[in-house]
Symmetry: C2
Subunit: 638 residues, 2 copies
């Protein structure tokens, strides 16, 4: 628990020790197992996660995606970056003046034919690399996103390996680096800024899988720009999964507290009421539990979708399998949409979830030792980095609108996760509301159809405006992206439920309730105005869907909350919260630990003297040396 | 800026120095001026605010509200608590097991007739006083909320002055105190826990304005319980005002950044587009600016309403003016509803506002030096303490429902801020939607009527359910409370605009746009499903109100954002954010300060050695002393 008292420096030291420990596992266990370990450790220590993933994820994925096989082999294996050894990479993309618009980066990499090298340079302060995780003190190398300039021609932003520190861990000539200092969270990460002053790197330090520069300065450009960005998707997929894990942790804490805590007595009752038995409390927390369940399954599908895609892409390239390559390119497009939509929607929802869970624990949610504060701070950046949520969601929304437009013009999607939009012509024409009666909402296929209809109707409305200005429909594009995420998750959960849980399983009714609670409270209720405005849901059932049915479902889920949260199987060191421990002995756990951390024997603070002096200060008149008294007045006025 | 790097201990020391400084002003300037100073200082340093207000606000207000005039005079004046001298009070209300339900507190104050004193005792750990601001190291006294027990009879929770530390600042016998330690925010406040073991205080340490115990143990109970809680309203009113001030600070930061920051070029453009010129960005920030303007005026009215009420109450009691007393009692009821509704609604909205502003500044919003992180952490507790928002809102909602019920049964309200509900019978019966055409929304009286209608219709729906269970309609009671807040604010802004800004003033159109943007984006849009479900707004205008008109208003407000934010007149030390400074030179301010705070000359971290050793570690085989090699295998297998 003392961890929650750590200063920035202590936290960074702790994270370093943990990296050191993890670096031993990566030498000895299978990659898949190691990355699952890292993912779980990230729940406990997000700073650890990011410091390792900057090297193993962003840095190496960038080399893998943009470098040749030999280049990847050299840096990852021969130089052992993949074992967190010899070198430590960071990811030099973002600049002070450019984050979302990577293509607008201003660092330059100018080809110098004479020495067969690139000169990396920061032309002005806006082009300073900024936020670079690990740069401040850890990294020995960076991949540097810089504008390729050859013979005066700007070929746009490409990637280069640039060494930052020598083998004695001292900065190399031409490299200026500083600590970016305190952040809202993730204090354990040493983010830094980097400026390059005419730093020369050999030509072969350019990552040249797709883009090449030869000895004479002839430039070969990539066949498809999007391929260079596929390596970025890894982080987005991971953040979607993180959202589920954080949800599992905090719904568990808040629900355990809600079951243990009593407050206010109802008339005639002997004991006070448990928080969880208040309908408002149920309405606040149980939909979040349902969301977490559905996200568990949805994000797992996304992980598989990504790993299958990468495997197929490798296979297709290796075997020159054109059909598989074509499918993989479709798959890439789907993954851009799905990961963008899930990353943005779920990291937002997870942020809200943790905040709501904190408030649901009242004052105790504000204690650092219950875990909320640190997570809120660490989490916040997930909505911003590796694709700002609004930018990602707008991009997803744009693809959806374009897709609907193409389908309405006769195109049919294949090998795409957006195939459900192939029904767009019929969905668009339908005049009758999809959900017209109360029991319609229990038919999951119908609910999926309702979401699809809404996506289509909103899109169709926007097509004419999009022809003149995509920007002006930004807010609606964000809504489309969220709806797409929910369609994906509901579709996945339904399918899993049908295929993996027997019709007679005792789990079935519980999981069905969870699914229904999810859909009424996380999809239909928050977007009810859109459903109504677009005639997809009849006004007659609106109240039932948004008020009555969610409450009914809550009261059906209520008796199972302990089982449903214990099922996440999180040990106490994952929960890492005094009021959320498995044994449920809230007050003893809490007071006991607080006494351990802050020995009550230390009852004077370092500032006690100042405080005591203030309280014991003489009167104002005395402090002014009695110079302003009437007596003095009579003397000085003479 | 270094402030943002402070550890908990450094922050507490800084706050102590500031308290010491402030204690000099309170000796020399008029009360009103001092409290305005403190309110403004609280924007810069919320921990300072709370540490001073625990003594000057909570502690002394409690004595003033619950003690006799002589008792107040003794502690506040003779003992100089009101000058932050001789003694320092804290507010011993909350317990480990009881926060919202004050009446459920379990600390006991048992009358001991023999010694004419009360014995204050903590019967079990759940009754430990918890979260007590200033208790850990600062306070010399507390007001202790404890159950009055006389001759075995429990008279419920009353208030007692209990000394905690002697004049040498050492703990008194029977007092156990500990530091509660790290919190999500407000690290500068030394919150503590307190346990009492048979602590004896003289009978006259009981606050006995309303409740008295005489020498023989005869108990006189207060005429009206609510009167004892009036002193709590001060904090709620203050938090409503804080919400406006925080809004002013952060909309200014985010809008200055949005005007200075460019990202992405539109086709054919020479420069990248300013963030503020993206419609989505306008839709995210300008409604928050409008909200802040309206909250400025609304919360100022609430402050006046409170100070008038207290003045009248004093006057009525002093002059035994029955009519004025009756009015004051009505006024008290109004203030309970209004402060509860504004405190909860506005602190929630302010939390969302700061979060949205942070996200709107992208990655730079995550830097501690831009102010968001600390404020988000410091602010969060405003939604929880001095009346948990959901509990307060439910309470307000309950009063509203009961009021509507009474009015429908023929009662007319007088001297109440809820008088607008006197039209309930007509509003309820009306079949036609109040807002049916686009231009209806420009008629503010009509919009007010729409809100009133919605409040009435929702209430009427709930009356039958409320007869059996208030709990089950918790969620809807919260909605009513929010609507009441917005009615109050809109009504106030409209009136101010009409009375204080001339029809031909050049300010008029700007402020009208602000008001309209506020109402469409903060009232009509978020509650559109309620307005539609209850037939108060016609579906035909829903899209116009929630999408088209807000965007039009945003683009009308857009050219004036710098003027509108500069008008808050916040100097840079209030803004306290590198990207939000008045000069607008974002990147130079930012990089320059970061370099000052973290000298790039210090390029090795304290943990560098560990890191270097890890990177330079020998191979696994070597580290395992070459014991697992095939060669060894052949030896050991023989």
């Amino acid at each position: 628990m003392e961890h929650y008292d750590y200063t920035q420096e202590e936290e960074r030291i702790l994270v370093t020790k943990r990296i050191e420990k993890m670096s031993k596992y990566i030498e000895t266990e299978p990659t898949k197992k190691f990355f699952r370990r890292l993912q779980l450790m990230t729940v406990i220590d997000p700073s650890l996660g990011i410091r390792m993933l900057v090297n193993l994820g962003l840095f190496l994925n960038c080399i893998r995606g943009n470098g040749t096989d030999k280049q990847y082999e050299f840096w990852a294996k021969h130089k052992e970056a993949g074992k967190v050894k010899q070198m430590y990479g960071c990811f030099g993309m973002t600049e002070l003046g450019h984050g979302s618009n990577v293509a607008g980066c201003e660092t330059t990499a100018t080809f110098d034919e004479e020495t067969d090298s690139f000169i990396i340079d920061t032309p002005h302060i806006g082009a300073t690399k900024w936020w670079i995780g690990g740069a401040a003190y850890s990294a020995t190398h960076t991949v540097c996103y810089a504008r390729l300039i050859v013979k005066g021609v700007d070929y746009g932003v490409k990637t280069f390996i640039v060494p930052l520190r020598d083998s004695l861990h001292n900065l190399l000539p031409g490299i200026a680096i500083g600590d970016i200092g305190a952040k809202m969270g993730r204090q354990g990460v040493d983010n830094g800024w980097i400026q390059f002053t005419e730093v020369k790197v050999p030509r072969f330090f350019m990552l040249q899988r797709w883009c090449k520069v030869d000895r004479r300065g002839n430039v070969t450009l990539p066949p498809l720009e999007q391929l260079s960005y596929i390596s970025l998707l890894d982080g987005r997929v991971g953040m979607a999964t993180d959202s589920y894990r954080i949800g599992a942790r905090f719904t568990t804490i808040a629900l355990r507290y809600a079951v243990g805590r009593r407050q206010f007595k109802s008339e005639g009752a002997k004991e006070e009421t448990k928080l969880i038995d208040y309908p408002l409390h149920q309405r606040r927390l149980l939909p979040l539990l349902a969301l977490t369940y559905v996200a568990a399954v949805g994000t797992y599908r996304l992980e598989l979708q990504q790993s299958d895609l990468l495997a197929n892409l490798d296979k297709a390239l290796a075997n020159k399998d054109k059909l598989l390559l074509k499918q993989s390119i479709s798959g890439t497009k789907s993954l851009f949409v799905d990961s963008g939509s899930l990353k943005s929607t779920l990291t937002w929802l997870a942020a809200d979830l943790v905040n709501e869970c904190r408030q649901a624990c009242g004052g105790h949610g504000y204690s650092a030792y219950n875990g909320f504060g640190k997570t809120i701070n660490d989490w916040a950046v997930q909505c911003t980095w590796e694709g700002d949520n609004n930018v990602l969601a707008m991009s997803t929304g744009k693809t959806i609108i374009k897709t609907v437009q193409q389908i309405l013009s006769g195109k049919k999607l294949k090998d795409s996760t957006l195939e459900f939009l192939n029904d767009a012509p019929a969905l668009y024409k339908a005049k009758k509301a999809v959900i017209r009666k109360a029991d319609h909402v229990d038919d999951i296929d119908r609910v999926l159809k309702a979401i699809a209809s809404l996506i289509v109707k909103i899109s169709v409305d926007l097509i004419p405006i999009s022809n003149t200005s995509w920007d002006s429909i930004g807010p609606q594009r964000v809504i489309l992206s969220k709806l797409r995420c929910h369609y994906y998750m509901l579709e996945t959960f339904k399918e899993k439920l049908e295929n993996q849980i027997g019709a007679n399983s005792p789990l079935r009714p519980q999981l069905e309730n969870i699914m229904k609670l999810y859909l009424v409270s996380n999809i239909l209720s928050p977007f009810i105005d859109e459903f109504l405005k677009n005639g997809v849901i009849s006004p007659a059932v609106a109240k039932y869907l948004t008020i009555e049915y969610p409450q009914t479902l809550c009261s059906e889920v209520r008796p199972y909350v302990i089982g449903l949260t214990d099922s996440f199987q999180q040990p106490d060191n994952f929960i890492h919260s005094l009021i959320g421990k498995y044994n449920g002995d809230i007050y003893s756990n809490y007071l006991g630990a607080i006494k351990d951390i802050h020995d009550p024997a230390n009852h004077k603070a370092p500032y006690s003297e100042d405080l005591e002096a203030m309280l014991a200060r003489p009167s104002l008149v005395a402090r002014e040396r009695h110079e302003k008294t009437a007596e003095v007045g009579s003397i000085l006025s003479k």
